[in-house]
Symmetry: C3
Subunit: 308 residues, 3 copies
Amino acid sequence: MRFERKDLLDLRSLSAEEINLILNTAASFREVLERPIKKVPTLRGKTIANLFFEPSTRTRLSFELSAKRLNADIVNFSSSTSSVLKGESLLDTARNIVAMKVDALVVRHSSPGVSHFLAQKLPVSIINAGDGAHEHPTQGLLDLYSIRERKGNIANLNVAIIGDIAHSRVARSDIWGLNKMGARVRVCGPPTLIPKDIEKLGVELTYSIEEALLDCDVVIMLRIQRERQKVSLVPSLQEYRDFFSLNREKLKLAKPDVLIMHPGPVNRGVEIPAKIADSRQSIILNQVTNGIAVRMAVLYLLLVHSSR
Amino acid sequence: MRFERKDLLDLRSLSAEEINLILNTAASFREVLERPIKKVPTLRGKTIANLFFEPSTRTRLSFELSAKRLNADIVNFSSSTSSVLKGESLLDTARNIVAMKVDALVVRHSSPGVSHFLAQKLPVSIINAGDGAHEHPTQGLLDLYSIRERKGNIANLNVAIIGDIAHSRVARSDIWGLNKMGARVRVCGPPTLIPKDIEKLGVELTYSIEEALLDCDVVIMLRIQRERQKVSLVPSLQEYRDFFSLNREKLKLAKPDVLIMHPGPVNRGVEIPAKIADSRQSIILNQVTNGIAVRMAVLYLLLVHSSR
Amino acid sequence: MRFERKDLLDLRSLSAEEINLILNTAASFREVLERPIKKVPTLRGKTIANLFFEPSTRTRLSFELSAKRLNADIVNFSSSTSSVLKGESLLDTARNIVAMKVDALVVRHSSPGVSHFLAQKLPVSIINAGDGAHEHPTQGLLDLYSIRERKGNIANLNVAIIGDIAHSRVARSDIWGLNKMGARVRVCGPPTLIPKDIEKLGVELTYSIEEALLDCDVVIMLRIQRERQKVSLVPSLQEYRDFFSLNREKLKLAKPDVLIMHPGPVNRGVEIPAKIADSRQSIILNQVTNGIAVRMAVLYLLLVHSSR
């Protein structure tokens, strides 16, 4: 099977076969990361640009390291040091970078749809690295990879996603990806942080964390994104913690081998106690490592493997 | 012919032969950019530093990509994260970077003459990437390259440069370069944005865009540099647009195969309507691509080719 | 002899043998820097991350160039564009970067002990690139290298360190290193800028620059770190200059072949007159060049040479 796409914009439009192709490709790159020399010459002579219109550490670094380990050249553009200051449009900025013979743009932006828009307008590969509260497909893929690595399979698992669903592009990508791979997804959070009609995405909704955790195979805790909330949507962090933080007692409702995941950055002591974040069941740092393998796979499939 | 210079500081002091050598060298690198692997090992083991004391996207990225495609190492220094904060002088900052065994400095600064000053004081190659409103020689060279690529020749062409001549280092480098290559240059803009005695540079001056465009082979539109103007030198953007923006009607005065150029970033709808910026006659994005080839040529000629 | 450490945190805990091993290794890399191709493939496939929580030019660039000349990949993280903004702890930030399969972290932070803390918690190599006013071991090592290069030996030399001892991590690393190598160290500065009990580090203390300079082989001038002083600890720069600046007259007290050093950035005309900073006796820029060789040696010894 070939990967016949120009861009990676969301998980919504990927098929289960395409997701499996990405995960299988990632598995071979995951093995490269255990070698003494963690590099392959796959993308030598290709150029990738990180276009980040929001501050980011881990995602930018993850793409940067993924590109370097494939021997691609990568350059960083961020809006603070940019001709955006000079009044240039987003599309013109992107077009100019593409005109420098760049093969792929990794785009993060606070507005949903920016990557889709650029993908329509530009001939190069666009990778959505997060567009507002819409999607963050490589995070969704690395979550799928991390679950499959530990559980062997994704189909028929009970997965709970708990926290600020409304502001989370990760939740949205996870829901699309998990559904396509056959998992049963439950979402849970305070009513003010659950989007209307979320059930239409094919998830169960509960406002009780106990219900969400019952017989769970995987629990994905989300960060309270204080920087994204224009108004306070939870009465207090203390109250949020009382109702929606994980703790040992609540975790007993889940299956004994439940996996605990978090897309990071973790607010220790808010959505998850430090002890649980660092426990044997937590695979939070494995997710980060797998993110490199998944992003290497995406870059490879878009830039080399496809028949374009 | 050898390129016998240590630095590229301006087009004023280059001969037509030197300019032709750079353009011919750029043509061979332009071809590299069309290959699947857009890299050559020419500058392996050489180190280049971008020293940018003004915010910039495209020029910094263009030099960064040019260096990487020659296999040089390149590091970025910008004044916001710098020991300039600690009171160090510009020359000391540059000397320190040179002491780290750097082979060339690419310098952008808001003050005219900074590159010339550093070139006198330092033993390494200095490339002026824009010094105040003085010169921006690699932009001038890429403009010459882009014209020659489409017209076959530069001599005897009618070239109009329209807009904010006073604040434009691009205009100054273009004027020197075009004159040396035998073009006839006309400049046009509102009286407040035309420097005194501009005719002494060997150009025709007109305040009428219609006169400037008449029988033109090439028109170079300049950006209204709002961020450089300490006081407002045009009554209003609307009035500027009425008098000095390009439009289809005015363009009929030029030759039918007129080329439309702009150094970017473009203020769409101010100095140039979006439709004309994106038209078949516009080579604005070709200029960007050619910028990579020209900068590769300059780095190559300064660091390898010369007999130093 | 093998270098059996995971980290380089300070000079306090290094033995004279370990310091000699680093300096000898640096000497072979110093020679690489004189070659036309200033690179060796030693660290190909290794990844290093600069984690800078304070602004820095020279140290970040020096590590970046050192890594690149060993063919390592290096990525830059600085706190201004970071998930530290999102409330993540320092340790979580570091853990996440390590999870991306990074082999070494170069850490600068305003708090003493941050590198030691990370070294205890993390399995990868930590290099302290300055922690508050505590230590800056690679600066100490490059100072030792620079003295040894010019004097042949360090033992029995008279070395004066003059200026703001209290706020200087460089002074602290120099004192530990020089003492271990057998030099006699004197410190001198205004009483408000001398830490209590400094003599316990094995140095002589004097408040007279004339006494400090008498028969000196090496004088290390420190920068008045205005950005570190919360309150003004010197009555005025003029007064500081009168008492503690170097000048030709005072220098006659030192040995005729005295070396003048400064960790930079230099405040010309404050702690040292421009003429002396640029004189034949000054090795300020040699220190910068040697810094590359010393950092290459440290990276090599930590990442390749040790038996870990």
